[in-house]
Symmetry: C2
Subunit: 407 residues, 2 copies
């Protein structure tokens, strides 16, 4: 393997750069750089049957990933998460097939593992010694874990109200971890300053070219798990939106490889009512999104007031005939409980938001009973249990369950 | 598939029972019943190559699992977790190859998913409408999730100091969840009383015959992931011990199937210094373990003062030439941090205890540099983050990271 990575290309101005050294954003226009591959060679040399025999991690698609020497792969076993039917929830909504890509079963408990496995691996290959990034929480945990494994220093700034679990993880993994009274974009300013002064490699999402490559494997996996077809609808909880644009990129690559056809799912984004810059921009017909003021939601991963990839997100939603929804925290909490109870899947708030959006689509008749729908649970609900405080009854030998029940 | 399950056999008195209806312990002697299969038929019909092509869950070994009709399988995608090398930790100990079976990447965040997927599936097949069990925490979460998915009522009693995450999970999954001032055996008494009065099926581990069948897939997976060989040493954190005896059962089945030879790993158990009934019994040369008084440890899964399968655990350790260690909570917390920092693997306290035991083996020269060692991380550390309270520095625009560092 190795050597399929060809060059970097700016998604906005189209300028081309070498993939042989560290890059962040496009030096010419400041927008997002995408890695490009020799897909003709890959088409000739790599088959879906070869991939079927490989270990169940995202690195089964290694020819479409940026690492040249497999020795540089930094892996914790990320990817090939279940694509789990939720038949009881589907039936209650009058739908035929609803599946949840359960990304909570990744190392560090979230889909962020994919992007950071790819980015840390490539940074290692290119000689980086220290990485830095701002995070709403889960990206920090993943960066800290993969950097620890790579023997790379890691500098992290996250909001003081990021989930306790994320703070503990970063500290245990040995990252240099800092908190800030503010949001991920405030954290980003401190990281940029530190990176400029100290020479750390800035691993902010879509501000370096390789996290999206890890995230795009979501698209490869869904296709493989559905027998190399795509679903009709994908609903994705959108903070920075890297997974969504990554899947969109993966679909184009897979078509070029001859692995799928030209049909695309409707790409539906969901955000929190308290922080919905992309939803607002979508409905306003804008190409870029204005920063959201006073962002507030329990869904930490959606507390992202501004995203550098806004134009890529909005383009994918529009090109695919998708939709955009904002849902309240109250609805999210209700839907977490409903999905856990109906199908045994305890989603994080961001994941439950996709279920809330699906309900909205059903109400608005924007999804048909024959549509195959894929929801994304982006992380383990375990990171958010501090939000919940059930009042559980206490029993003892003198007051067994029958007595407790009658209270 | 289907129909390979033959009968139940008592592990103590050898009496044989039909597998066609619900059973708990041996009606004759009160000990553990094991399911037995038509291994001759399986040997003729099932190959390792067939298994290699199946989806990455524990149900890839379906002919060796107790469900007859695949429609009864209740799955959340459990099993085929990573067997992850920890090369940095191994090197620091002067060892060659140390691997961690990372069971935290299961649904509900622990290895309990395996046993409950098997047990709930079989209970569903046999017509059970309600299940009940006592738990130190993680089994409760798994039971609640699989029962929810199966549409089965679930009754749970767990200690008031079980991790908050487990309490939240059970409630969200819609289980009838109760707390008790006491330990898992006190909870067990309340469950037995309720089950007798209400007709719930008692799903206490090894008190019904099928949780061990899910757990035994740990043994199948390790063999498959190591190219159908076994490691030299397995270190297992032992509460109820179902995984350990399950692997021991799996090894015998795989040998009968012709998939592995007669060599066995040394089976090493580790318990917490504050609750070590098996370790005490092992060193005292006893066949059964006395109940541990005043059990106390941060490792909730090891707060198990008495285990019905004690004789099976002790037999496997002795027959394999294994060892038994007790480690302190302080050591466990240090080793959680060390393993997270060295190899990016944040283990739960029970999992970190296996690393502590490995260090003890190195000190006592009971493991050779050429030994291939497998540790078990039985669950996600995320369930235990309430134990940790890092004091993270706060930064802002006026006090960037460089300033914070110099504090």
């Amino acid at each position: 393997m190795g050597g399929y990575l060809s060059h970097l290309e700016c998604t906005a101005c189209g300028k081309v750069y070498s993939a042989g050294e560290l890059h962040t954003v496009c030096p010419a226009c400041g927008k997002v750089l995408y890695p490009r591959y020799d897909l003709d060679r890959a088409k000739a040399e790599v088959t879906r049957e070869m991939i079927a025999g490989r270990a169940p991690t995202m690195w089964r698609y290694q020819e479409l990933l940026p690492v040249n020497d497999p020795a540089n792969i930094v892996t914790l076993g990320e990817g090939m998460t279940p694509l789990l039917p939720v038949p009881n929830a589907a039936k209650a909504l009058g739908l035929g097939e609803v599946l949840v890509k359960d990304e909570g079963l990744n190392p560090t408990g979230s889909f962020k593992a994919r992007g950071l496995s790819a980015a840390v691996s490539k940074a290692k290959e290119l000689g980086a010694r220290a990485a830095a990034l701002p995070s709403a929480g889960n990206a920090a945990s993943a960066a800290a874990a993969y950097c620890a494994r790579a023997g790379m220093d890691c500098y992290i700034v996250m909001p003081v109200d990021a989930p306790h679990a994320n703070q503990v993880e970063c500290d245990e993994y040995g990252a240099h971890t800092y908190l800030i009274h503010g949001l991920i974009n405030d954290a980003g300013k401190v990281i940029r300053e530190g990176s400029a002064a100290q020479g750390w490699f800035d691993m902010s999402t879509l501000k370096e070219p390789y996290r999206v490559e890890g995230k795009k494997t979501l698209g490869y996996e869904i296709a493989e798990q559905l027998g190399w077809t795509l679903p009709d609808v994908i609903i994705y909880p959108t903070g920075g939106g890297t997974g969504l644009v990554g899947m969109w990129k993966a679909f184009a690559e897979m078509e070029a490889l001859g692995w799928i056809g030209s049909r695309r799912p409707r790409m539906v984004i969901v955000q929190a009512a308290g922080c919905a810059p992309m939803v607002r921009a979508y409905h306003a017909g804008q190409r870029h999104a204005e920063p959201w003021q006073d962002a507030e939601t329990i869904a930490a991963g959606l507390r992202v007031p501004v995203a550098i990839g806004d134009y890529l997100i909005l383009q994918a939603v529009r090109d695919s005939g998708g939709e955009a929804y904002a849902v309240t925290d109250e609805t999210i909490l209700d839907d977490m409980r409903e999905l856990a109870h109906s199908d045994g899947l305890f989603a994080c708030p961001e994941g439950a938001a996709t279920f809330s959006a699906l309900k909205a689509m059903v109400r608005e008749r924007k999804v048909a009973p024959t549509d195959r729908v894929v929801l994304f649970n982006t992380g383990a609900a375990l990171k958010y249990v501090d939000l919940l405080h059930p009042a559980l009854p206490i029993v003892d030998a003198a007051h067994p369950i029958a007595a407790a029940q009658s209270r």
